[in-house]
Every structure is written in structure tokens, then in C-alpha cells.
């Protein structure tokens, strides 16, 4: 669980602690399909992924957003999270190692919100998603 964090603790440019995930596995995609209810076979049937021209299965975009959510909530308690949005930019394949990174890009005094950028990349630096989140933080 994220430790207590206050609006005053952060400044523009501060990094979010990055999160390096374990390599993506087929079992993980199958578990995520069941957990999320996304049963598109592109995510677990290699033949369907081949036929679609992806050379095999591709991960659910929402799984990668889930990785980003894990990094965020490890840093900022969920009760302070107000907005979280991403654009899916690249496909994730099996065995890729996804790293989540982010930084504070804006501080709004009026509602004590920090705005942060978040990105997911693989080990070659290819971008999978890019987004922002806002958290409304308490005073000490």
C-alpha cells in the first residue's frame, strides 16, 4: 500500500517510482481474459493472432493500463486518484518486459491536484501507452 503523501511533498518534474513487470506470459493473458471478461481470442489463441497478422497473441491493452494502475496506486493511495486516462500506442507480445514510468507535470493549488504523465514501454523502449492521471492530495 502506498505511504502517506502530501501535496507539499511533490513538485513539477518529480518522478513516479517506476515499476518493472515480469515478462508477459500466455497464462497471464488467459487469466486477464477471465478476470476482465475480454474474451477476444486475439489475446490467447496464437492461430487467431497469426491470422490477424500480429505474428501471435497480443496482450489486452487494459492489462498494460492495469500495470500502469499498479504503479500509480503503489505510489498514491487510491482514494486520492481522480482521473486516469491513456492512449494505446503499441502492441505488447509474449515475453516482453514492460516498465511503467511517470512524472509530475503540473501542480494545481486551487484543488490540490497533481497532474502526472505515465508511460509504458518494453525493454527496447517501444511505447505501449501514454497517459495522464490526476490525484487530489491532502495537506499534512
Amino acid at each position: 500500500m502506498a505511504k502517506a503523501i502530501y501535496f507539499e511533498d511533490l513538485k513539477v518534474g518529480d518522478p513516479m517510482p517506476s515499476l518493472v513487470k515480469e515478462p508477459v506470459t500466455l497464462v497471464q493473458l488467459v487469466r486477464y481474459a477471465g478476470a476482465s471478461g475480454d474474451f477476444n481470442p486475439l489475446h490467447y489463441d496464437p492461430a487467431v493472432g497469426q491470422k490477424a497478422g500480429f505474428g501471435g497473441v497480443i496482450a489486452q491493452g487494459m492489462l498494460i493500463m492495469g500495470f500502469a494502475g499498479q504503479a500509480i496506486s503503489a505510489w498514491i493511495p487510491s482514494r486520492y486518484l481522480r482521473k486516469f486516462k491513456v492512449r494505446f500506442l503499441g502492441l505488447t507480445r509474449l515475453n516482453e518486459v514492460i516498465t511503467i514510468a511517470g512524472k509530475v507535470v503540473e501542480k494545481r493549488e486551487v484543488d490540490r491536484c497533481i497532474v502526472c504523465q505515465v508511460v509504458a514501454k518494453d525493454e527496447k523502449g517501444e511505447l505501449k501507452l501514454k497517459g495522464t492521471f490526476e490525484a487530489q492530495l491532502p495537506h499534512p
Partner: protein, 151 residues
Amino acid sequence: MHESIQGKRLAEFHYLVERAKIRELAEAIGDTDPVYRDQEAAQAEGYPDVITPPTFGTAINLWGGLGFSEICNRLGANPVRVLHAEQDYEYFEPVCAGETLQCTMTVAGFQVKEGRAGIMHLAVLETMAFNQKGRKVLVGRSTILEKLAEG
């Protein structure tokens, strides 16, 4: 997809937030935070029960509402040409296990775009979730993109 889907109500449903489903989603992501699996740990953080992770809205939509293929069906979209382009959440109150949410999913936007890859249709599916007290807790917006054959 056709612009006549703009404003269409796709689904209205109740969703009971269950501990086991929260744990299942957190474990699939590989998130071992005890607030997603241990009621005592969640209570120590001031929540009444285990809390939902930030992307739990996807399980609410796909398990509580319509599945992916049924959504495509109602939008008149070809599922093999559909991609999830963007996802957006707004959080108003933490959602914990034991809550029953009242949800509606509507087509909040429709757009035609022409790019290098040809013509694309974009639809924004908005799900609003209210708790038993009638308070809005979560809004999710999924932008889905359908690539058309030509181009």
C-alpha cells in the same frame, strides 16, 4: 458503425462488487497489494472492505454489462476491425467489495476520421456507475476505433 449510434443507450445493469473478482483481476495484473485481497489490510487503510484497482471498470463493463462481441453487434461494428484506442476513468469515491452499482453505458461520442490508414470510425462508450446511496462513484470512457475496409 454509423453516426446514428450517437447517444444510444447500450446497456443498463446492476453490478455486485465481489472480493473474489477484485482479487482475480489484481492477481491477473500481478498486483500483490493486500488492499485488493485482505479485508483487514483494507480496513487498516480506512476502507470498509477490499478496494477495487483503478482499472476495475473493465470487469464491471464486460462482466456486468455486455461482452465485447455483443457491444460490437449493437454498434454495428466488425469485431476483427475494432481496436481499443483510448481509456479514461474519473473517480469520485473509492469502490469497495460488497457494493452494488447501478450502471448505464451509452455512446457518448461518434466521429469519422480519415488518416493514412484510410477511414476510421471512433465511438466513445461511456459507463456511469452509482452506488446504493445514489452517489456517482465512477465514470469510464472507452474510445474504440473501427478501421474500414477501404483506404
